[in-house]
């Protein structure tokens, strides 16, 4: 969405110039917001209106503004963003502008530049020569980089709610509680993911150990095998749980197939050791040491696996990024073109991912803990669905729904 602020002065009420300008904005498919209006008190007093005009493309906006100028509209000349140099590496100048995850524009030398990518809780660095603006984290900033300070020359465009009648996210941006029905929503989500597949969307899964522990791994494997997963974000523990399950049938010593069986952490450590010995998950698959499970399916189906570590990790297994800053960088990079994210029973990891998402990314958060769902959904208030439920029935139903639809691809069209 591109916008420009115009100003109208004169006897714009008596001459009906104001309604004419507003009507023209709408008939050209653009929108307006009256930012300020002052109506003359006496007969000869002139009136004033400041109007923000927004249009889909910059060409449409230019053409419209040109038309409106005929009727006396003047383009307001907003101030450029103020820039200050980073005093040392890793430190922003004081009063630096803190970004949201919304689309943001910076006015530089009279022109607006879009901040790319949109990233929340960052500063904005402007490159004068390239005329580009990017969101930067502390570790990204070097001494002398020019950083936006204050609020002048910044424009934030909130994501518009989808108006497509087929979009699941059009109506739902809230949380479905534990005692509410979920089947219809899961079915719709399945269809949304199918549509996404067709349009080359990128689907990411953030997976928590509960997937393995509840025995939902097999359902996730079905999604991976049907090519509904492009990237998998998880911690070291998730991978080791999955390997333990694949190698020994247990996860953290518990066999999900037995009602009350108990075991120790032994299998968990043995699983980590096996992968370390093999030289990593992909190597273990190649050497036929790891023959099933989620990680195996990811390797077989070329799903991009992004594993990051925590302090409590055993191992870690090769391929896990343990440097927290490096992990942030890798995650951001891998999230850049993602369009749909399923945050599945992984509170900390989900919050980390959600904070890195562009506002246009459609997000589904599933967790048994209502507060975890609430916190994750907060990041994407217009594009998210939260489901308070055990992850196993969710994944089972989603996998079944997709399998049914894949088997009868014509059915949707007939409906």
């Amino acid at each position: 969405m591109f916008s420009e602020t115009i100003e109208l002065r004169g006897h714009i009420i008596d001459s009906l110039i104001l309604p004419k300008v507003l009507d023209q904005i709408l008939t050209h498919g653009a929108n307006f917001k009256i930012a300020e209006i002052k109506i003359g008190k006496k007969r000869a007093d002139q009136s004033f209106a400041r109007i923000e005009v927004s249009a889909e493309t910059s060409e449409a906006l230019d053409e419209l503004v040109l038309r409106l100028r005929q009727h006396g509209a003047e383009v307001a000349k907003p101030a450029d963003a103020q820039l200050a140099k980073a005093p040392v590496d890793g430190v922003f100048p004081s009063d630096f502008y803190v970004t949201t995850n919304q689309q943001t524009f910076v006015r530089f030398e009279g022109k607006e530049i879009e901040v790319r990518p949109a990233m929340m809780d960052s500063a904005i660095a402007v490159d004068r020569k390239k005329r580009t603006a990017r969101a930067v984290k502390f570790f990204d900033v070097s001494k002398g980089d020019e950083i936006v300070v204050g609020h002048d020359g910044i424009r934030v465009v909130p994501v518009q709610r989808s108006t497509s009648g087929t979009d699941l996210f059009q109506f739902i941006n809230t949380i479905i509680d534990a005692d509410e029905p979920k089947s219809a929503i899961i079915r719709e989500l399945g269809h949304e993911l199918q549509r996404a597949r067709v349009t080359n969307a990128k689907i990411a899964i953030v997976a928590g150990p509960a997937i393995v522990r509840t025995g939902a791994g097999q359902h996730l494997v079905r999604l991976i095998e049907s090519r509904y997963v492009d990237r998998l974000f998880a911690g070291n523990a998730f991978a080791v749980y999955d390997v333990e399950r694949a190698l020994f049938g247990t996860s953290l010593g518990v066999n999900p197939d037995l009602a009350f069986a108990r075991g120790g952490h032994e299998n968990h450590l043995r699983a980590a050791n096996t992968i370390r010995e093999a030289g990593g998950i992909a190597a273990a698959v190649r050497k036929k040491i790891l023959n099933h499970g989620i990680m195996h399916a990811c390797v077989r189906h070329k799903v991009d696996i992004v594993l990051t570590g925590t302090i409590r990790d055993e191992g870690p297994i090769p391929g896990v990024t343990t440097d927290a800053l490096e992990a942030q960088k890798v995650m951001r990079e891998k999230l850049a073109y993602v369009t749909h994210v399923l945050l599945l029973a992984a509170l900390q990891h989900s919050l980390a991912v959600a904070s890195m998402l562009a506002p246009t990314v459609k997000t589904v958060c599933v967790d048994i803990d209502p507060s975890a769902v609430e916190r994750a959904v907060e990041h994407q208030p217009l594009q998210s669905i939260g489901l308070v439920t055990d992850v196993e029935p969710f994944l089972r139903e989603l996998a079944e729904c997709i399998a049914e639809s894949e088997a009868k691809p014509g059915d949707r069209k007939k409906q």
Binding site: G10, H11, D14, S15, L16, I17, K20, Q46, Q70, G72
Partner: protein
Amino acid sequence: MRELLLCPPDYYGIEYEINPWMSRARGAEAALAQKQWKELHATLLKLDCKIHLVAPQPNLPDMVFTANAGLTVGRRFIPSNFRHKERAGEAPHFARWMKEHGYEISWLPDDLYFEGEGDALFNGDTLFCGYKFRSDIQSHRAVAEMLGCLVISVELVDPRFYHLDTCFCPLPDGGAVWFPAAFDEYGQRAIREHVPELIDVLPEEAMHFSCNAVVIERDIVLPEGAPKLVAALVDRGYRCHELPMSEFIKAGGACKCLTMFMPQRQEP
């Protein structure tokens, strides 16, 4: 007694084309133009007007259309900023003449086009201003600031009626003669809201420049060819003086275009 500024058509002719009426190929007949102008001059004299003449200048054929010299209110004269370079040369001659005759000259900023009384007509204490073809709406605001009066800006949409005085003629009783189709929808609504009694001119009569009339109290001097309008005006108690204007209509002007009030209004 109303004072008027006219300019003899000594150098008048169709030497360029800046509106749909003008055709250099067709041209205007000089002798007939002289005759028609003299008849207008005589009619206005007969109506007890005091007529001032500005000296015509070679290469400025349209100087005869003094309504576009500027706008006079009280002793203040706001000279035009002509949109077309062909007419821009007229401005200093008019300004000099007005200054020599004791008027205070108030120039508009150079970048605002404004074509004087042609696009600015008082109806009571409201100044109606036309825009788009010749004057910019921005100039209306500047004029409103200079004069401290209410200005109703109306958009002109038919290039044949490129000045306000070709399609709108205020009457002393607060009403006006107009050709509605020359205005956009908003302009029509604004005029209807501010002018209580409007006399619509039919398209075939508007083509004879019937709205381009000089109103001196109850006397209206207008081009011939508008019997229905004349009947409507007579019905309202006006005396109509119909004049042949064929040679000036060829340049897109008639009685009113050939006349500027000095002043159009005493005080804003």
